[in-house]
Each structure stands twice: as C-alpha cells, then as structure tokens.
Subunit: 333 residues, 2 copies
Amino acid sequence: MRIAVDALGGDNAPEEVVSGVLRAARRLASGTIVLVGPPERLEPYLGGDDRPPNLDLVASGGVISMSEEPAAALRANPEASVAVAATLVRRGEADALFSAGSTGATVAAALLGIGRLKGCRRPAIATVLPFPRPVLLLDAGATIVCRPQDLLNFAILGSVFAKRYFGLEGEARVGLINVGEEPGKGSDLARESHGLLSSSPAVNFVGNVEGRDIGSGTADVLVTDGFTGNVVLKTAEGTAREILSMVRSAVTEGGPQHKLAGAVLRPRLVAVRDQVDPENYGGSFLLGVRGSVVIGHGNSRARGVENALAGISGAGAGLTGELQDALLAGNAS
Amino acid sequence: MRIAVDALGGDNAPEEVVSGVLRAARRLASGTIVLVGPPERLEPYLGGDDRPPNLDLVASGGVISMSEEPAAALRANPEASVAVAATLVRRGEADALFSAGSTGATVAAALLGIGRLKGCRRPAIATVLPFPRPVLLLDAGATIVCRPQDLLNFAILGSVFAKRYFGLEGEARVGLINVGEEPGKGSDLARESHGLLSSSPAVNFVGNVEGRDIGSGTADVLVTDGFTGNVVLKTAEGTAREILSMVRSAVTEGGPQHKLAGAVLRPRLVAVRDQVDPENYGGSFLLGVRGSVVIGHGNSRARGVENALAGISGAGAGLTGELQDALLAGNAS
C-alpha cells in the first residue's frame, strides 16, 4: 500500500507531520509513504541519510488554509499539497491520502481529484467516538445538509467499515441519532431516515439513539447529518477534555495527602485519559470516494500522524472495492 | 409566588416529587407550592399532620405518558395533572408551573393552557450546561425545526434570563452553535441566523461557537435549534457521566494502595461530580410563554425537585414581564 501524505496540512506542519511519517515508515512492515510538499520546507526534518527506504517525496507548491473557501482555493491553487496528493490517488500512484489540514480542503480535493463511488451522492466523515464503548459516527462534517438517502448510504458504508475496524462477527448494528427513541420523533430528516433505514434489508437498524446513549454500546454505527455529527463529535470531545481537566485539578491540588494519593493514582488516571484521547484513534475516514482518504486532527502531533497512518494500513486492502460493492447492492435491494 | 407542581410527572412520581415539594416548602422563606394530582395517590407521602402550612393541594385525574403524542393526549385528557397545573397559571392562581414528566406534554400544556408571549412564534427550553463554565443553552428541545427569527428570539429571551440567573453585570454574550467559527459555515439556518444575530442591536452577539468550546466561557448564552440543542445537551451529559464512571473505576479498583489513595481523594472527586450533576442545577425554563414553566429531569429525585423549585423562586418575580418587554423591544429594533 502507498499512502500519500499532505506534508503541509495541520497546525503543526510540516515538522510534526514529517516526524510522524518517519515513525510510521519505520513501523510499517510493508508499504510506502509518499510525502507531498515543497522539498525545501521538508528537508530540515527528514533526518538526512537516516531516511527510511520506504519513504518517497513528491513536490508540491502551497497549502489551502482553514479560512479559504475550499473548492475555489483548490481551483486557484492546483499545486497545493493536498490536491497533488489526491491526484496521486486518482492516477493509481497512491492507494490512500492523508491530511491533517483543513477538513473542507481535504473533502474538496477528494471530490474534485478522486471522485465519488457510484451510487454515492455525497461522502461522509467516519470517526470513532471512544466514550466508553467505541462507536463509529458518520457524518462528522463532510455533508452539512443531508437527504434521507444520504443517511442510508452512510449506514451502508459505515457498516462495512465498522465490521473491519472493530472486527465484528455479525452485521454492524446501526443507530440513528435523534431526540427520542420513538420513530415519530425529530426533524423531517430524522423521521424519513428512520423509515428508510427500517425498511432497508441492507442495514441492521436498531432504531433511534439519543445523545446520552451514544457511548452505551447499543450500536456499532451512528448515522446523522454532517451538521449534527460535527457538533456531537466536538461536544463529546470537549466535554471529555473538560471533565478530565477538572479531575486532574482535583487530584493534583489540595493538601500533601491529596498530592500523594494523586501520585499513586496517576498511572490509572493517565490510562483513562489515553483511552479517550482522539490522537490514539488515528484519523477519520472519508467514506464514499474512490480511494482511502483519511483526515487527521488539525492539531495532530507526530504520534497522531503515526497512529493515523498505521490505521490506514490496518484498515486493509480492498476497502474501497468492498464499499463500492455494498453501496451498489444496498441501493438495489 | 405560587408554584403549581405536576405531582405525577417523572419516573419517580409521585413519591420523590412529593418528597421534594415538602423539602422545598419548608425551605422557602415565602411563597406557596400547589401540588396538583389525585389526592388518594399523594396522601401516603404527605406526612400527615406534619404538612407545611404553605402547601396546597389541587385535585387532578391522570397523567400524560412519555409515549403519547402530547397535544392529542392533552385534548383527550384535559384533567391530566400537567394540564390542570397549566390552567392554574393561566387563571393567575399560580405564577409558575413545574413538571418532571414528559417534556413534550409540558411544552404542549404550556402552549395550549398558558399561551405564548407576544412576538414569540415558538418557545425554547433554556438549560444550564455546567462543564466547566456554566452556559445557558437554548433551545434544548422544544422547537425541533426553527427559523432564523426563532433563534434571534431565543437569543433575546436567553440574554434576559442569563443576566438574572448568572448575575451578570453587563449584557449577556450570545454565541451560535455551529460547525466552524467563520460566518459562512454551517446549514442555511446557521448562516442566516448568523446574519440576523450580527445585525440585531438587541443582542450582544459574539459569533459562532463550536461544540468543543461550549464550556470554554466565551459565551453566556448559546442558541441553536431544538434538535441540535437536545443532542448537544444529552451528548454533554452522557459524556460527563461516562468519563466520571471511568474515573470512579480507576480510583476504586486496583490494588490496596490505589483504594487507599482513592479514599483520600474521594471528597474532591465527589465535588467534581456534584459540580456537573444536572440535579444540582434545578430544572430547565421554558422561555417564550406567559408564565414561568420549568421542566425537571425525568429521573429527578427529591433533591432535584427541591433544587428546581428553589430555582424558580430564585429566578425572581417579574421575569415573564421582563421577557415580554425585551422581545417586543428587540423585534422592533
């Protein structure tokens, strides 16, 4: 497998991206990483003669910033690193694309440069929510306005992915994020999607799931529109971070006996923090395009980049073909 | 102030509701609580001769369950306790209504029985999110499908309420929940609401707020539609509960030294749990109707009911009039 990496994507690019790429290249048993960026900006971090043999460089010229309108910026700058990386995938010169840069730019580069799967109107960002039972959430922000058919497609794509990612034996259980458990609850989109998901033989639908139950283990896959999914993801991550910060203050401040007790418990509390740290879950997969496209956290450090690249490799060969088959079969059923 | 309480509302009614009412009646320096329910079902919990003097009873006949379509159920059962309580408010025989029962039934009873403020198309549920800097979120689920004008009204109502509730000196800072900070981000509703909120002199608008920043203290009030708000509220509460449960396991399991350290830190960790426990923040206010209407958590216990009733009393007299004035002034500006 060849993974094209946007070396300029992310708040800590290129240094942390290159550092994560070097680690991943050394860790991967097979496969090659293609680092895409301006050679003169990457050179200082590449480690000279120590460079792993399974690391290639492809030159690009520029970056799409967070504040630009993605599609227009890509047209204005076709040599941007994320666009060049997408072109490598379209030409078959890479199997996967990774970027920790602007999500909008990566989605636009994938749509313009790689293209959609047949039967997929719009793609979805699939991301693992780790609190406390991991569940695959999609769409986490690629398609802000969705139709019921989009949510059915997300359910089909997410089921294939979750089965691989979580190593499920049976079919993935799919839930619909909604404001109540009853089928009649929610927006027009939620009610119509409930009907479509209930009647599709392609999906093992378990019904509505409320926000308070997203981590309860009742579903392997949760589908919703990209607006709601993005807000859910960020609310869950933000709340987890804030609660852990309050716990940290509680066990590190106070009297000497509290500090001593905090030191004893530190390894166990660090384990909790690591269990919910998004950086340990690699990136988010953009499902619905003709290739593996993975979006890292904008603030990814080397470890996050390394884990994301290992995750792409671990998702295995043939994912895109399996997603395409499931989509065609599901939409025909 | 007279507060009408739906004695049959909630998972633990009537026992925990009556118990919370008794506690609140004894705690309130002034004011009366009117308990609405079937006398024969309340009698066992009323404490006989010990009953506080500022507790009245009004008979009703029945309850609206969570699974019923609220408006239809209310029309079929006008003697339901929540409907009778709303009627007391309409007639001026009570100033406020509290129910821990079906949210839909309470909202419907308020709309049918009490009516809306002038200039308010739809009401909003305003609830305090306590992680870690308290912020008032609305709408948490009363109006699933909103227009931009609704969100402007929620901002006006929420600003008045937050100023009182948090004791703010200046105007409340209002944020719009969205998927990015830039004005052009999000759904049609989000983009149009951003424009309306930016241009209204009635609102101190600070811009878009992402899910990860809801507890960061950048806003006192967060507005969104009832679908998104309900999902945000439940996701935040569910995540907080799950993370604290993981922390509890980490500090109570393990070897003897961990258990000892856990015992030392227990009071400090309980303080964190209490700080984020929704039961300590009373109920949620339904804003936009002609009276104080407060919705308790469905699983409220006596302490939650007591705190909610104290909160209603604490919100102070004249709230409804002030909300009406702000709405008329804001919509005219």
